[in-house]
């Protein structure tokens, strides 16, 4: 894929500046993983976040977005990062760790202390709101 007509840096995605996961979205969908997206990457992103994308595909990319250290598992550290970003750091450390523990209790199927992609997908199946929240209207 050599047709790099325009390159967007993640600072240029003006409208989505207030999404706490904007950097992760840019990293996941960009080619080289550093947040610089070509037009094709941009299209990929909107294709995944559109209404027509199937649930499994959205769950796959959501998993990659929430996996901050890119080790194919959402571990406790990833969860803590997610919760902190969601609440803008306004929960105390004890509350954050309590929330992470409860999340692992609920979603970790094989009890290895972290969420794999299947655990995440099984949890998404039980959340019918996921399709309407993981959705950007164009």
């Amino acid at each position: 894929m050599g047709n790099k007509q325009t390159v967007f840096t993640h600072e240029q995605l003006e409208a989505y500046q207030d999404n706490p996961f904007r950097q992760r979205i840019a990293q996941v969908f960009s080619e080289d993983g550093d947040g610089h997206m070509t037009l094709d990457n941009f299209l990929d992103m909107f294709s995944v976040m559109s209404e027509m994308a199937p649930r499994d595909l959205k769950a796959y990319y959501a998993f990659k977005i929430y996996d901050f250290n890119n080790d194919d598992y959402i571990c406790v550290w990833d969860l803590e990062q997610t919760v902190t970003k969601l609440t803008r750091g306004e929960l105390s450390a004890e509350e954050v760790s309590l929330v992470c523990e409860k999340v692992l209790d609920e979603a970790d199927g094989d009890h290895d202390g972290r969420l794999s992609l299947e655990d995440f997908q099984n949890m998404i199946l039980r959340a019918p709101d996921f399709l309407s929240t993981f959705h950007i209207r164009i």
């Binding site: 894929m1 990929d44 290895d112 996921f130 209207r137």
Partner: protein, 809 residues
Amino acid sequence: MSRSLAFVLNVPETPQDPEDQEPSPYDESEVHDSFHQLIREQSRWVAEEGLELQHRALGAGALGASGSDRQALLGPEGAPVYSTATLRILASMPSRTIGRSRGAIISQYYSRTVRLRRRAGRPQLRDVGRSARPSLRLYDLELDPAVLEEDEKQGLLVKELQGLTVAQRDHMLRGMPLSLAEKRCLREESRPPRGKRRARGHGLLSCCSRLRESCILASHNLGLVLLSGLQALMPWHYALKRIGGQFGSSVLSYFLFLKTLLAFNTLLLLPLLAFIVAVQAAFPPAPSGSAPAFRGLELLTGGGCFTHTVMYYGYYSNATLNQPCASPLDGGQCTPEAGGLPYNMPLAYLFTVGVAFFITCITLVYSMSRSFGESYRVGSTSGVHAITVFCSWDYKVTQKWASRLQHDNIRTQLKELLAEGQLRQRPRRACGRLQQGAVLGLVWLLCLGTTLVCSLAVYTFSELVIQSRVSAEQDGALLALPLVVCLLNLGAPYLFRVLAVLERHDSPVLEVYVAICRNLILKVVILGILCYHWLGRRVGTLKDQCWEDFVGQELYRLMVMDFIFTLLDTLLGELVWRLISEKRSQRKGKPEFDIAGNVLELIYGQTLTWLGVLFSPLLPAMQIIKLLFLFYVKKTSLMANCQAPRRPWKASHMSTVFISLLCFPSFLGAAVFLCYAIWQVKPSSICGPFRTLDTMYEAGKVWVRHLEEAGPGVSWLPWIHRYLVESAFPIYLASALLLAVIYLNIQVVKGQRKVICLLKEQLSNEGEDKIFLINKLQRVYERKERSRVGRTEEAVMPPAVFTDDWDAQ
């Protein structure tokens, strides 16, 4: 098991040069660019992972120790540092590779396509969570690079895709987590090649097939163009995007519901327009007296010069239109049309209203069941923390202040969940529970009492109106009853809200449900009393007048008053409240947009339309105009005056609840009213299409009798009428079958729940097995390491060592 042991044996170890590691056990030179960097980093991390795992272990190990009986990966004894070989094996586990290898994705989708094509075995448990791991069948495909390169894997996938139908292929391609360019590539390759056909056939056959293909392609392109044009035509697309961006999915659900109602009304209006209104307008009956002049009041009361128009039931003739004059019609003109079709108006009226209602019913039930299927899952109430963390951030929201509100909402939600969890751990005192129960009971009593008072007021007022014998000329006075009804409908919900402050519910969602319930009871009771007033009392008092016209006009008046009061409510409730709250408190305390209340208003308006369709066929058109106005008014008021609700709002659950409410009390009530009016009430004898009959339904019976007399050619229709429609036995049979089907479905769901529990247990056992094996593996490598360090000069026989080690355990 032996297979994995063989794999373990084959791994070469090079512990002496940890920097010079190959990235993974199999060649990744052809991977997708977006994972290239990740793989390079991953290989670096594999070496550093021991250190990282140690860091995380100190946190996770503590967590693991505090958890009940969860065997954390890193064990309770602290942080074991895994050897390089173990880490390399861990890095090559199937569950790890799916995130970074294009080859793994292609293999996975190859296996899925094969399964789809062969449709092997019994159907799965309802498409539940297809696993992301490459199946064990492809274990050798996956991890043996010498056998299959990635291009070959892609070729296999393309071949399998060619065996599917177009729809299945598109569905499969849409679900693949590859980039768009690659999907396009796969789709191009899996299309049937046209070159082959050209070479094979000559003459007419190839010409026909080429023509057919080009026709199909042209129609496909035309379909795409139409679809994109339709997208542009979709009303309010940009407006909905703005609303979603500023207020989130919860407020958006109200406007989407409004759009749905528009669609239902259009669906209802089209048959009525085509088969009743247009035909009668083309053949107008003789005008009876002069039409009164237009005064402005007609828009409010629906009477006056609107009375003898297509708007109301009384205008429609009771004879066969466009018939060559065989017998003189009373009051009708003899207009023989050469070659025209006779049109039986009463039959058409009855059938069209019936069919329109039937279509609406089917559409409603279908959309309700689809919404239900999407939003309810077995076991969906558990896992609320995980769902809040992962599914509650609304990516649609674009404004800074709106996303700040979202942050606040999520924080509040998490705090409430934690508090709830702690509360559940502490058992509540018995007298506290008793007190709360008493308060709840009291508030419910007060609300039901208010409803009773309101309904008595409506009943008394309606009796008063009958006794004061208001005639049709004094139009203005007829507005009194709708005014009273609308005032009560406006005031009582505010009273309910005030009373609800007294009770304290555990969950905010329950508050919303309780409020909806109370409002619904009030509206149902008031509408019930009005229906009795019309069909029970008005029919009697308007014996020699057109009571159907009157009922139609009453419903028109109710609709118009309802619209005016909604506008007033928007003005007072939102605009004035915002001004007051801004003056009172310096910071911006905008009123919340009351989603449940507004949706109930929409459902109430729609019920009025359905109740009045029989008596005023153009009522859906009024409702459409009203909904259009309402959209713009509500949108403007929302943007200017309101903020999003603070409480968590499960948008998809609530949409299901709304559409169920639209189906069950609303549509069902209107259908019951309609059936009663058609089957039991005597139509007035001076107007309308049924003026000579005992009941409206008799028009159908008369027609069936005509058919019987017509001859034996259509004898099956009267037979159907006599044995399936008139008799009660088929209904009993159908109900019994339906109950049996529902019971079987319940049993199936119970069985599925049991299977889910068993699978969860199995999963947890497998997880424990995995940890056990990893730890054993680690100990094996440690022992090897130690023995190698001890005996550097001797050549070690791996199998012997292994058998020794394994025997020792």
